[in-house]
Symmetry: C2
Subunit: 499 residues, 2 copies
């Protein structure tokens, strides 16, 4: 993809003297912990959303909480923006650097501090990889439930910032349901504790507020995660449909009848073909859609659920239903799904992965409408998604070397997100808003609600130094985007107009 | 109980002209919707924590959202405190009126607006009783999981304000896990939407922030609740122990081995005796402790769980284990537990119901220490609680007619809460902070964290009109209580010192 400029004038009104900043940070960070030369900065210029690229002024890589606090104090004193970064796998550009700011890498916060098998918790640093938590918990028969596709690489800190999900969040929840407490460094460099390991916590729920806040309220330096016992039994079904609508109705029916699968994924025809060509999972390439349904629990319970789901799938017109015979076949059923994104990468020079959520009953309608929009924009769209949650991931195919195609892809992406809002859904399922969806926030929310978000931000970061320009749009941005709701012509909080 | 004065000078610095207020409210509320005479105000002078009594200036009972918004606009303009009240069953004094304020009753917001059996949601007004939601959902095979003991009377709005729990929150979560979205009237009288029915919501998680905020951030006027399918099968076990410690260890062991009961309750000897005398549930009155364990799920799964739990109980030294044979016996097992509070009311002129949470492994230690504290204060303590969550409800027995006993009961209650904090727990499990535990918040939190709470409050209610004096203590109060943590002798946010 070619590069777009991202920041707006109001996001960049900082007056930073790079030499002063560098000198002050050098008091706390030695040698390789502080990067200032362009060649060293280059690897940090973007995250998983490579459409936007921006070099930071410096990259700081503190080794411990004290150093990190020192960096925050310097930045707070000098009014320097700070963008925290975990593994940099964000698909919404949440970790895009700020041109006048410090890119704060949590790469050295990579230790699992404690696995407590009695309380079933893991205390970890934010740079720990998602999958590493489950690996460390495995000897105790435990695991960490949220499992984004990037789990081999993405970090817990990034998962918290974006409220990451995954295939299993249908049954086991998003990051917000699986993080108990955290130690957070504020913009002033103070260390505070939020949340707790008991079911209720007194005071306002700052833990939930911190999750999904995209590094805009504080920097998590330690988190206590809830672990779950590994399920005793597991079965995976693969069902084919000769039209996408029937697949969508089967999804609604499974959930509607009270079954909560551990995972319920859907792929459309082009996705099936691409995955099959890539990994040879044995998928039915003639199908218009497949559903992959994982059921877990106790042995008898799972056996019972398999029969109930098989019944529902049959009633909803599945043309073929397979149940994996053993673990090898279960993994094969999943292999195509897990390889779907790189598989699509093989059939198109570029693709743009969207993320929106809709009510399940709208699945068939929305998929039809997305196909129409794709035709209108002259771009192919492949669908691979968490159907049980109504969490869509349309992949828009384009060629960045064809002039105008990337802009068309972004425009089509925006239209798809707005379609999600119109049918009662949201512009994100698990990737967050970041820089990618900032304009669509103007469609999702009324002005009053955006103002309330800004007021909350002010409670944590009054100088707007933490990840400025991400997550919540300024009202100016919305006005220019042409989607700002004006409430009865009045602006009830004029003091907030500076946002 | 005799009456304590509650409000501190800084909680009451409002300059309200009652006649002006009454005149302005009368423009929007007719006849019985506005109460000003003392006889009419009297029923509102306290909630379930009758130790504190306070008449409000007026009681406003709006009939619809527009009237409620008008009340808020008048109060905001005249700088009048507003205390929202549902059914008034709070045990922490969350709905104690303010002497210069409006008591805002949600009694007329009592309609269930919609049960959507496909999405499994209930859209309700805040004055709807908790149990009424499950009753309305029952024809669809659905129910609303949080079930506080007061569920026949308490309202959904109050449940949201206090993040209510109940017997089944061990498996199915607190209110925060079961409310999807809400319409909230701000202190300025504006209507905003928070949360959403899709798994993730963009922007900061204002829904989680609102839940448990004790009416201090806004007034909920409508909520969309998640409904769950009724479990297919259910079994209840009753196990006896000849010492409380063994019962505590059995609880830790059940959870530790990966069983998640639908409910796991414990009663100590005095509670067993009182309950048995009252309802004749057939409890083993010679036992030092009993556990009641409810297991639910699919038929085979539950049968399997019963055997696993029976094994664990035996290994942990249960002296007797009974499994209810039928629904009548299951209800009998629960009858004593559900009647425990009124049963204790029969053996003591007064009792004070505490609510704190501790790590499960501390159960035996903390129960022993509570007994010692009781002896030290010369007051009996009876324990009935949600053992699986580590959520204690010690009932302190006293006689308010004996001079000094009520003060001693409150002091003992405070010591018990502080003990919970010391062992790594919290001062609330499900009753909230309200007015009752305001001083113990100074023990639970550092000054920095209290400041962060106040900053969040400021983002919603800068003039501090919503339920002032509850939930989060002023730093002055903590200083006087003698428990304020001072951070390195510095107050990093001097602008917040007015709190």
């Amino acid at each position: 993809m070619s590069t777009h400029s991202y920041y707006r004038p109001e996001d960049t009104q900082y007056d930073v003297d790079a030499d002063v900043l560098f000198g002050r940070l050098r008091e706390h960070l030695d040698g390789e912990s502080l990067i200032v030369h362009e060649s060293g900065l280059r690897p940090y210029e973007c995250d998983g959303l490579s459409a936007y690229k921006q070099l930071p002024l410096v990259v700081a890589i503190p080794e411990n909480v004290e150093q990190l606090q020192a960096v925050m104090r310097v930045c707070n004193e000098l009014r320097v923006p700070v963008v925290a970064r975990g593994a940099g796998t964000s698909l919404s550009g949440g970790a895009l650097p700020h041109p006048q700011g410090v890119l704060l890498s949590l790469a050295k916060f990579n230790r699992i501090l404690e696995i407590d098998d009695r309380r079933r918790t893991a205390r970890v640093q934010p740079g720990v990889r998602n999958l590493a938590v489950s690996e460390a918990a495995a000897p105790y028969g435990l695991y960490y439930a949220p499992d984004p596709s990037s789990q081999i690489a993405c970090s817990i800190g990034g998962n918290i910032a974006e409220n990451a999900g995954g295939v299993h969040c249908l049954k086991y929840g998003l990051t917000v349901h699986n993080v108990l407490s955290a130690r957070v460094v504020t913009v002033e460099g103070e260390l505070v504790e939020v949340g707790g390991t008991t079911p209720d916590s007194p005071g306002y729920d700052l833990m939930a507020l911190m999750i999904g806040s995209e590094g805009m309220l504080g920097v998590v330096v330690e988190a206590t995660l809830q672990l779950l016992p590994q399920p005793i039994a597991k079965e995976v079904l693969l069902a084919s449909f000769d039209d996408v609508g029937a697949g969508g109705r089967a999804v609604a029916s499974i959930i509607g009848e009270g079954v909560v699968p551990a995972g319920l994924e859907m792929m459309d025809g082009p996705a099936i073909q691409a995955a099959e060509d890539f990994v040879g999972a044995g998928y039915p390439t003639e199908a218009a859609a497949i559903l992959i349904c994982e059921l877990d629990g106790a042995e008898d319970e799972v056996a019972d659920l398999v029969e109930r789901v098989r019944d529902i799938l049959t009633r909803q017109g599945a043309t073929e239903i397979r149940v994996a015979h053993d673990d090898a076949e279960r993994q094969r059923f999943w292999a195509g799904r897990k390889a779907a994104f790189p598989a699509v990468g093989r059939i198109s020079p570029d693709y743009y992965c969207m993320d929106g959520t809709i009510p399940r009953r709208e699945l068939a309608n929305v998929l039809t409408r997305i196909a129409e929009l794709g035709e209108q924009y002259g771009l192919g769209v492949v669908n691979v998604f968490h159907a049980g949650d109504g969490n869509l991931h349309p992949l828009i195919l384009f060629d960045a070397n064809v002039p105008g195609e990337m802009d068309r892809a972004e425009e089509l992406g925006g239209e798809i997100l707005e379609l999600c809002v119109r049918v009662g859904g949201t512009i994100t399922g698990e990737h967050g808003v970041g820089s990618e969806k900032i304009n669509q926030m103007c469609v999702q929310f009324q002005t009053l609600e955006l103002r309330q978000f800004h007021a909350v931000k002010e409670a944590f970061d009054p100088e707007r130094l933490l990840n400025p320009g991400k997550g919540v749009p300024t009202l100016n941005r919305c006005a220019e985007f042409g989607k700002m709701h004006v409430h009865a012509g009045e602006l009830p909080h004029p003091e907030l107009e500076r946002f």
